[in-house]
């Protein structure tokens, strides 16, 4: 039995979420008789990505589909490439990270295969049975695939520890056929956060700010604390809507879902939608002026007070 994991990358570097998806594939493989995990890297001048993928523990083979047409990483052409790979070899499962990349791409592939995808799994109970959060994580559904030629899954990284990188490199094969048709879709451009910021979904510590910070400038206080803690900076929807920070900071039901060792929520009230994005953090600290803020119900340590006063003090004491 072979499982195919779609690598997430930006043509230059592999994204860590790929390792968590491989971990999920390994867990499926452990529950089946025998299995081989392949990683598909699709892009342009993406050899470094393939070389990194080839070092992920548990991977048996990497397939590299490299062409200028694949470079923009748009869903239509990537779908065509994956379908070619699924024709070239038989797979029992297809997995991708439940990131905006995987969420955009995988359902398109699933529908072309006439398969009902299972989104955002956090656990594997059997090769066909998985657990996934619903209703903003207020319920967990155990779901079994009962029909379909292949199981298609997106994987929430918070459910699976990343499969580590090893010294061993597995073979990299070139894709036998390359997709050419982008369906007329043109990538106009991207506006991305600087790559030297610590990635929110992979950080050990996250410091997050909400509307309680009152002004965009006050996020600097949060950034100072984050620097001391070597933490990533996140935000509530309210802070993004208010223009304090860009959208890629948003933690929540429809933003990023994180589960760091330490999550410090500053000036965040704790709406259901925000909790959905951070409730599985190991340790949660809440700092808020309002003693009745719902965030205190999930916090291990709660400090009532003015964030703007507390933040500099906290930074100084670390």
């Amino acid at each position: 039995m072979a499982l195919l994991v779609l690598a997430e990358h930006d043509n230059a570097a592999l994204k860590p979420a790929t390792q968590n998806s491989v971990a999920a594939a390994r867990k499926i493989g452990e529950k089946a008789d025998a299995s081989e995990i392949h990683v598909l890297v699709m892009g342009h001048q993406a050899r470094p990505v393939a070389e990194a993928a080839a070092r992920i523990e548990g991977v048996a083979k990497v397939i590299l589909a490299d062409a200028v047409e694949l470079g923009p990483l748009t869903a239509e052409i990537l779908t065509a490439q994956v379908l070619l790979q699924l024709q070239a070899e038989h797979y029992s499962h297809l997995l991708a990270p439940a990131t905006t990349y995987g969420k955009n791409l995988l359902p398109r592939i699933a529908a072309k295969l006439d398969v009902q995808q299972i989104s955002g799994i956090i656990d594997v109970l059997s090769p066909t049975t998985f657990v996934r959060p619903i209703y903003a994580g207020n319920a967990l559904a155990t779901v079994e695939g009962i029909a379909g030629a292949i199981i298609v899954l997106t994987v929430l990284s918070t459910g699976f520890d990343a499969s580590p990188m090893s010294e061993i490199t597995t073979p990299i094969e070139s894709a036998k056929e390359l997709a050419k048709d982008s369906a007329g879709v043109r990538l106009v451009g991207r506006q991305l956060a600087s790559s030297d910021k610590i990635e929110l979904t992979a950080a050990r510590v996250v410091v997050s700010g909400g509307r309680g910070l009152q002004k965009a400038e006050n996020f600097q206080l949060l950034e100072a604390l984050a620097a001391k803690l070597n933490a990533a900076v996140g935000a509530s929807r309210a802070a993004v809507d208010a223009g304090f920070v860009p959208n890629d900071y948003q933690v929540g039901q429809t933003g990023k879902i994180v589960a760091p060792e330490l999550y410090i929520a500053v000036g965040i009230s704790g709406a259901i939608q925000h909790l959905a994005g951070m409730r599985d953090s190991k340790v949660i600290v809440a700092i808020n002026k309002d003693p009745d803020a719902p965030i205190f119900q999930v916090a291990d340590y709660g400090l009532v007070g003015d964030a703007l006063e507390i933040l500099p003090q906290l930074t100084a004491q670390l």
Binding site: D10, T74, A75, E76, T79, T100, Y101, N104, L106, P107, R108, A111, D114, V115, Q116, Q117, S119, G120, T129, I134, Y135, G137, N138, A139, L140, A141, T142, V143, E144, G145, I146, A147, A183, V185, L187, V188, G189, R190, Q191, A193, V205, V240, D241, P246, N247, D248, Q253, T254, L262, I272, V283, F296, V298, A299, D300, Y301, G302, V304, Q313, L314
Partner: protein
């Protein structure tokens, strides 16, 4: 250009749902239901496109029990022209919804479908992408900005790293993200006007589509509750607890 906006009736976003003790699902008795927030944004965007002269007719469609008529009437009150209810009490998986919507697109000859990116009950985030695949149309998901001109849709998308802008030839499928727009409130005069707008009802069997479920939900449970936390009284105490007790710093 005719626009189709599929909308879903879901548990209101303010409701914290409870799981039924027998593990069969979520308790929906007497729970407040509303239009899925992302679908409201989709309806709003469609109306703005009509106000700008880009769209000529907005058709909203919902698939589910008779109560979905309420949700459709809200969309009509916002400014949609016509509503279709595909009535069924069956639970529809995203693939089934996409297949049904494909039939509606064909019947109505729409050039653009705008959906919410995900329903806040199931949280699957699949239907729009699946519909695009079945129609073999390009897709612009998680849109925070949409412009239609000269047969193309220019979509700015919210992605994990920031923003991405794509140009798609029409016809296309768009899914909405939070910041695409702020939906308008429905005024009482518009609610009354909406009662006169057409709402057609179809039975799901009329669409001759296989909607048999492909997944079986074995059980639904509440997540592990967290241990109760404590209040600390000072920054010093917090730092000390994090160092000595929690050992995270």
């Amino acid at each position: 250009m005719k626009l189709l906006v599929p909308i879903k009736r879901v548990v209101d976003f303010t409701v914290k749902v409870r799981v039924k003790p027998d593990g069969s699902g979520v308790d929906l008795d007497n729970v407040k239901m509303s239009m899925n927030p992302f679908d409201e944004i989709a309806v709003e965007e469609a109306i703005r496109l009509k106000e700008r002269g880009v769209a000529t007719e907005i058709i909203v469609v919902s698939l589910g029990p008779a109560a979905c008529q309420e949700t459709l009437r809200t969309a009509l009150a916002m400014g949609a022209d016509r509503a279709i209810l595909v009535e069924t009490d069956a639970e529809l998986e995203p693939l089934a919804v996409a297949k049904l919507l494909k039939q509606i697109v064909a019947k109505e000859e729409t050039q653009l479908v705008i959906l919410g990116k995900q329903a806040i009950d199931d949280d699957s985030n699949q239907t729009g992408q699946m519909l695009a695949a079945l129609l073999d149309w390009p897709q612009g998901t998680f849109a925070s900005k949409l412009e239609i001109a000269q047969g193309k849709a220019t979509v700015t998308r919210e992605i994990d790293g920031g923003l991405e802008t794509l140009e798609l030839p029409l016809p296309a499928v768009i899914t909405t993200d939070l910041r695409l727009n702020e939906p308008r409130y429905t005024s009482l005069p518009n609610i009354i006007k909406a009662k006169k707008r057409p709402l057609a009802s179809l039975k799901v069997s009329d669409l001759q589509t296989d909607i048999t479920p492909r997944l079986k939900t074995q059980k639904v449970e509440a997540p592990q509750p967290r241990k109760a936390g404590i209040r600390v009284n000072s920054v010093e105490e917090l730092v000390s607890k994090l160092r000595q007790e929690a050992k995270v710093i």
